[in-house]
């Protein structure tokens, strides 16, 4: 009945198992390995949903309590950069999905192309983010570090934003102080998101090296598929961050 034989030392050789080199020994089949690791990645994404969930809860409460402060503070974010970043991430999601497709179709050249594009787009996102962050630093809008709410107590002191949003009234000092809360949430949420992007891009770099060695185009698409899930998740977080932080009210 059993096809395995027991050697003298008690170790067992599973003679009936001819499995590809990338199948780990505790799995019975490649299918099982793929299913299990895919499911594991989804569970990990669940933890990420709940991780960001705490921040979204805090945001929801603070935005509703301090709406005027949040509106005026959000005008400090450049909508051009924000929209560009959204576009960059959406396209990177597309290139990542195409990367998975290339791995499934065993097209190594295309896989490398799409992974590289995703990598570059990821870097572009971080580049734009760092431009935005340094702008915030220059304007003293970094909470806890070099904060000043002068731009909100007196919008005219910030001509570049005031020109775009002349309807913004000077805020009373206590409401103006709440703009720091907005920026804290801005930095916490986009910072946490950027951290996930950095991790993702690093793994992408590693994957590019492995892809060139042909690791993902022999039928073993698990790694690329699961990383793709992570990348799309990070994109989805941004899909929510963008309207919540940038598009509160621009009329």
């Amino acid at each position: 009945m059993s096809d395995s034989s027991t050697t003298a030392s008690g170790a067992v050789v599973d003679a009936h198992h001819e499995h590809p080199p990338y199948q780990r020994h505790h799995f019975e089949s490649v299918d099982q390995q793929f299913d299990a690791t895919n499911f594991a990645m989804w569970l990990f994404l669940l933890t990420e949903i709940m991780f960001f969930g705490g921040l979204f809860t805090a945001y929801l409460i603070m935005r509703n309590w301090y709406y005027p402060a949040f509106v005026e503070a959000s005008h400090q974010l450049n909508i051009g950069w924000g929209t560009a970043n959204t576009g960059v991430l959406i396209v990177s999601s597309f290139t990542m999905a195409m990367g998975v497709w290339s791995a499934e179709m065993r097209k190594k050249g295309l896989l490398i192309l799409f992974l590289s594009l995703t990598f570059i787009l990821g870097l572009a996102f971080l580049g734009i983010k760092s431009i935005e962050y340094s702008e915030k630093w220059e304007k003293h809008h970094v909470p806890g570090l070099n904060w000043s709410d002068a731009s909100f107590v007196n919008p005219a002191s910030d001509p570049e934003v005031h020109k775009l949003y002349p309807q913004d009234k000077p805020l009373a000092p206590d409401m103006a102080a709440k703009t720091e809360m907005y920026f804290f949430l801005y930095f916490a949420m986009t910072g946490m998101h950027a951290l996930h992007m950095i991790i993702g891009i690093s793994i992408l770099g590693f994957m590019l090296v492995r892809a060139r060695a042909g690791a993902y185009t022999t039928g073993h698409v698990t790694y690329v598929e699961n990383f793709g899930l992570y990348w799309h998740f990070v994109d989805i977080v941004w899909i929510f961050l963008f309207p919540l932080l940038y598009l509160i009210s621009r009329y």
């Binding site: 019975e28 994404l45 929801l60 409460i61 309590w65 999601s93 206590d174 598009l247």
Partner: protein, 134 residues
């Protein structure tokens, strides 16, 4: 017990032993390869959604007075609706959930459910307390 011809069966899904059609559906992941045309369509839809949500933020969409003291503003509703739609497209197509097993779909649903529970149940406190600055 079903014959496994010397190879142990698929992934321990033992309750489906012998129901091979079921097993094929279970492994929809690898057998169904989503075509790039669909990916392109979704990309287009996502970019359109982005443009739409930016455009909507420049317009005052008004409000709905549900009851005295209880107002619903349409701008955030529209923004979240567009974001949720984009998320759904990414989840279903880019993340292949549309072609995945029931377990994957259930897992995704559990994630959303718990997230909504966190926000919703916390709100039962905040909505019923003195609303405004602490």
């Amino acid at each position: 017990m079903s014959e496994h011809k010397g190879q142990i069966g698929h992934g321990g899904q033992a309750e489906h032993d012998g129901k091979f059609e079921q097993e094929e559906v279970e492994h929809g992941e690898e057998h169904h390869i989503v075509s790039p045309v669909i990916y392109l369509t979704i990309l287009g839809a996502l970019l359109v959604g982005t443009a739409l949500t930016v455009w909507a933020s420049y317009i005052d969409l008004g409000e709905w007075q549900i009851a005295p003291g209880l107002t619903l503003f349409w701008n955030p509703v529209v923004a979240l609706a567009i974001a949720c739609t984009k998320m759904t497209l990414v989840v279903l197509f880019f993340m292949h959930v549309k072609y995945s097993t029931k377990l994957t779909k259930l897992t995704v649903a559990c994630g959303f459910f718990t997230f909504i529970a966190l926000i919703g149940m916390t709100m039962t406190d905040y909505f019923t307390r003195a609303w405004g600055r602490w």
